[in-house]
Symmetry: D2
């Protein structure tokens, strides 16, 4: 079993690598094997014309959380990449931040599935704004994300 | 029938309003009633750790194109907002830009559906990297997007 | 609030009306406002070549349960019809019966959403074989399903 | 390349094996590598309370056609099984028969994807009643469906 600190390090390595998730400000709230929670604070660059988080931003956060949930449930050296994503938008994402809780509901040797609840946090109250189901394929962990690098080993 | 130039103005007004679609650099390639094509150039902020466009960025582009395709097929004064989005990732989006072609396949008084093909353009060759089906709900056009403003009238 | 016995009567009226759900042998296990559980026993006509329940049969059961879950959460006189259905097949449905538990997760005036877990029951043990998310549209209750008829009133 | 007659024989073997697709009366209209069209005539056992084809029946036909489309695009000895299915219901399936046209849009070594259009045929006119996207996993062809048996060889 991979130690929880290594799982957290792996999710953070992927999330904070230069690119989209880092540039929008994704934070890693918590990580356990099969379960990842991410948050994202509201900034003007993430909104629609109506002032709510854009659907693509919500989908991206859900996708990334799902990838983490399934990857952390896989044996070391394996990685999950999204095949398909289905997301329902339930209510306006009009809060100060988003919270995506992903949970792996199936983890096989080739396919994984995660469910994600995305809430919008406004004045301390959470409201469900989207739910997603993400189906992923299991591949080899890219070399640049190998545990020793991810964990910051020399 | 709404003139095509007004449809283009409406899609541009939504796309270029301050927020996500503008900040990532979305361009409006072409607009017809029921059919919208958007493009998005590669920048480091839009990529995953592996150097490809992030799934959330692809989903966001598809979502936005679908909204445009259905909205432009609606009577004036109506607007389409996404209820649910389903997207399949087909191949690595490793090109210099993305191209999302959305087409309304059903337009009713309360519900619309659009199909979207997203290609990745690399060295002049297009490759299908995702297909999406987006289901939308018909609402009143938000006042700030009303035709006279959208068309730039005083 | 509609009495629970009326909700059960309504779901049974729809399920046992002549047609598909009746002909395959769908049973109504339990009904509450926003929550419906159906079961379906294995018969040769419901299987694939490999001896498991066919995906279409699983999808049909999930769809019907979702319709019940959302309809029973609506005000009297309203009815939910499916706009789109997304289902993930998790494991072989190789049991003696299927059990579909649907729960409404969003109920609005025009759109409802239900999540459904489908398990396969084999030798007393339940195993998750599919999860579905169903998006529905709210319409007027068809006259033939009006409460007095559904409840068996003369 | 597998001869077209063998592909047709394979799809027919799966469709006409004892079980769901045979019992509802599924017909194999045409088969090419990556492309399968099935039809299904209206019978009382396939309908909803409102007299239209049940959503589960439509989903099952789409699923089966998609499996055929991807399987016939695979190398001999491989078979495609559904991971997830997404279907949008567009209009009432109120015709005398259904027609499902599936086309493989991606065929990889482990994953395939097919798009399916389902039309309802009424008095000679076809109307689009559903579109589906089906994602499948590539597995070994079950022994009982091996080409020599499928083709009726001794």
């Amino acid at each position: 079993v991979t130690p929880r600190s290594d799982l957290q390090a792996l999710v953070e390595a992927v999330t904070f690598a230069p690119g989209y998730t880092r540039s929008v400000g994704t934070k890693v709230h918590s990580v356990e094997a099969g379960s990842v929670t991410l948050t994202l604070d509201r900034t003007p660059e993430l909104l629609q014309a109506n002032g709510y988080f854009h659907g693509g931003v919500i989908a991206g956060l859900a996708d990334h959380a799902a990838g983490g949930a399934v990857t952390t449930a896989l044996p070391p050296g394996k990685f999950a990449v999204t095949i398909c994503l289905q997301i329902n938008f339930m209510s306006a994402a009009n809060g100060q931040s988003l919270l995506a809780r992903a949970k792996a509901v199936r983890v096989g040797s080739t396919i994984g599935v995660a469910h994600v609840d995305v809430t919008s946090l406004r004045d301390g109250a959470e409201r469900l704004c989207a739910t997603a189901t993400v189906t992923l394929r299991v591949v080899e962990l890219p070399a640049k994300l190998a545990p020793d690098r991810a964990a910051g080993a020399p």
